[in-house]
């Protein structure tokens, strides 16, 4: 068995540059017929080896043949010779441009090799936070509004998509959803945010429940906590969860606000 080691070409320019280098061809004076022949031979070889040939490789064949055709046309008369453009010009420019980026890519590769020898000091922030702040308490981080909104958005995205729109009156209130939350809390020390909103039928319920949660947090009745940054949000009760307690807290806050203004 023969083993053929074929360089992998990154594209038609890469293959052309390889052929130019291999044959020690002057890039400013490319013998199009010769290079096209060799180019096609390589494509055949690649096909033989079952290498995938990108469409761009084939396109280049067309370009090469077009250039050759143009070169076969008789030269323009003497007086307009200055306007005459070598049909190979565009290709040469592209090859030069490609070559300098290929060179800088090789340079980047060297930098990469060097850099892989250096290992930065690593700090595992999750680990540090957990050990530092929560040796005994499990839920350590107060979730920020951003975290809440992220969870809220995730919940919204998970709602079944309804493309038809029915307009009907909203029949859900914050007070109802506060009761709904309290109901879910019965006998539990915490509630997962997603658990609470998972079974809501409609977007409007989700929105109002979210507002109810914010209201309960405002009144210091519950708190939103996470075990780690970006972790699952859990609601933890901070005080007696009863509807009458909720109403009286809300009332006193409203009275306060009224007095201040």
């Amino acid at each position: 068995m023969y083993q053929i080691k074929l360089p992998v070409f990154e594209g038609p320019f890469d293959l052309l540059l390889f052929l130019i280098r291999k044959n020690e061809i002057d890039i400013y004076d490319i013998p199009i017929a010769q290079i096209t022949r060799e180019y096609l031979e390589y494509l055949e070889l690649m096909q033989l080896l079952d290498l995938e040939i990108a469409g761009e490789f084939i396109e280049m064949v067309a370009t090469l043949i077009l250039i050759k055709t143009r070169m076969l046309l008789p030269n323009p008369p003497e007086e307009s010779l200055e306007e005459f453009e070598d049909p190979r010009l565009k290709l040469t420019l592209q090859l030069l441009e490609y070559r300098r980026f290929k060179e800088s890519a090789e340079h980047l590769e060297d930098l990469e090799s060097v850099r892989r020898q250096y290992f930065p000091r690593r700090v595992n922030m999750k680990q540090v936070l957990r050990e530092k702040f929560a040796p005994e308490e499990e839920f350590i981080i107060d979730a920020t509004l951003f975290d809440l909104l992220t969870s809220f958005k995730r919940a919204l995205d998970n709602m079944p998509k309804i493309t038809m729109h029915h307009v009907h009156p909203v029949r859900v209130t914050i007070e109802e959803q506060v009761n709904f939350i309290f109901h879910h809390f019965q006998g539990k020390s915490f509630l997962f945010f997603h658990e609470l909103i998972g079974e809501l039928p409609e977007k409007i319920h989700l929105v109002v429940t979210f507002m109810a949660i914010l209201d309960l947090m405002r009144l210091n009745l519950v708190s939103a906590r996470q075990q780690e940054p970006f972790g699952e949000i859990r609601l933890v009760p901070l005080s007696e969860l009863s509807f009458s307690h909720y109403l009286s807290l809300r009332e006193s806050l409203e009275v306060d606000a009224a007095v201040k203004s």
């Binding site: 992998v8 990154e10 594209g11 038609p12 320019f13 890469d14 002057d26 400013y28 004076d29 990108a54 761009e56 280049m60 200055e82 005459f84 453009e85 070598d86 010009l89 040469t92 420019l93 592209q94 030069l96 441009e97 490609y98 300098r100 980026f101 290929k102 060179e103 800088s104 890519a105 090789e106 340079h107 980047l108 590769e109 930098l111 990469e112 060097v114 850099r115 892989r116 020898q117 250096y118 290992f119 930065p120 000091r121 690593r122 700090v123 595992n124 922030m125």
Partner: protein, 231 residues
């Protein structure tokens, strides 16, 4: 070594403790720490030149035979193990070391780095092949990012390199990238090209040689301007 006498006593900290405070910050940081950030969190360090502190600490490490140094990367400072310990340290991180970048990824990255901000089309024009997949890889490795959209039909995305790019290649800043060989330099050096292609060639590639700058090929990057010879 450290000598607290040749330094003024600023904001109540000694040079020696400034050194220790700065070292503590570096020690606890998981990314390159910029001088600005250091002064922001510890205003007491305002009077000290951070670069000096870096040098002094590195000198201490060197004298003490420590296996690490402070390196300047992405315009910040970070502790790194010395390359001679790589064969050992590598074993510890074998599982999480990222794969090296492929040739196509490096080529694409080189084009983005030198020509940024660029569109996918600009890159494909140079590479001669589609770069869809490569861009995704580079984006997912956070080496490039979408910097907005171009003012062109279809408002294509424009890409630029990230801070992670600098960190990955150990560069202080983009300015540290080796100068790209300019096409006009190549041509100027190659009078043969001039003979073969005549003025048409120069018109495309190095219009400034003919004194017609406005017809330059649409390279549109700043580095290019620096090389224009004054005529």
């Amino acid at each position: 070594m450290v000598n607290s006498e040749d330094k003024p006593n600023i904001s109540g900290i000694e040079s020696y403790s400034a050194l220790a405070i700065f070292e503590a910050l570096l020690f606890s940081s998981d990314e390159p720490l910029t001088a600005t950030r250091v002064r922001e969190v510890v205003p007491e360090l305002k009077g000290f030149e951070i670069r000096k502190l870096v040098e002094e600490l590195n000198e201490i490490y060197r004298q003490g035979g420590r296996p690490y140094r402070i390196d300047t990367i992405a315009e910040g400072f970070q502790l790194f193990t010395l390359p001679e310990y790589a064969p050992y340290v590598e074993r510890l991180h074998a599982k999480r070391q990222q794969a090296r970048l492929s040739a196509r990824a490096l080529e694409t990255l080189a084009i983005v780095a030198y020509k940024q901000p660029v569109t996918r089309h600009d890159i494909e024009e140079i590479r001669g092949v589609s770069v869809d997949g490569v861009l995704k890889t580079l984006l997912s490795r956070n080496l490039i990012t979408i910097a907005g959209t171009a003012d062109a039909p279809g408002s294509p995305f424009i890409y630029k390199t990230t801070r992670q790019f600098l960190e990955y290649f150990g560069l202080k800043s983009l300015k540290e990238l080796p100068k790209l060989k300019e096409l006009d330099e190549i041509v100027e050096a190659d009078s043969e090209a001039r003979e073969k292609f005549g003025e048409a060639f120069l018109k495309e590639i190095a219009p400034e040689i003919l004194g017609m700058k406005e017809h330059g090929i649409s390279e549109g990057n700043e580095e290019n301007q620096e090389h224009h010879p004054d005529e």
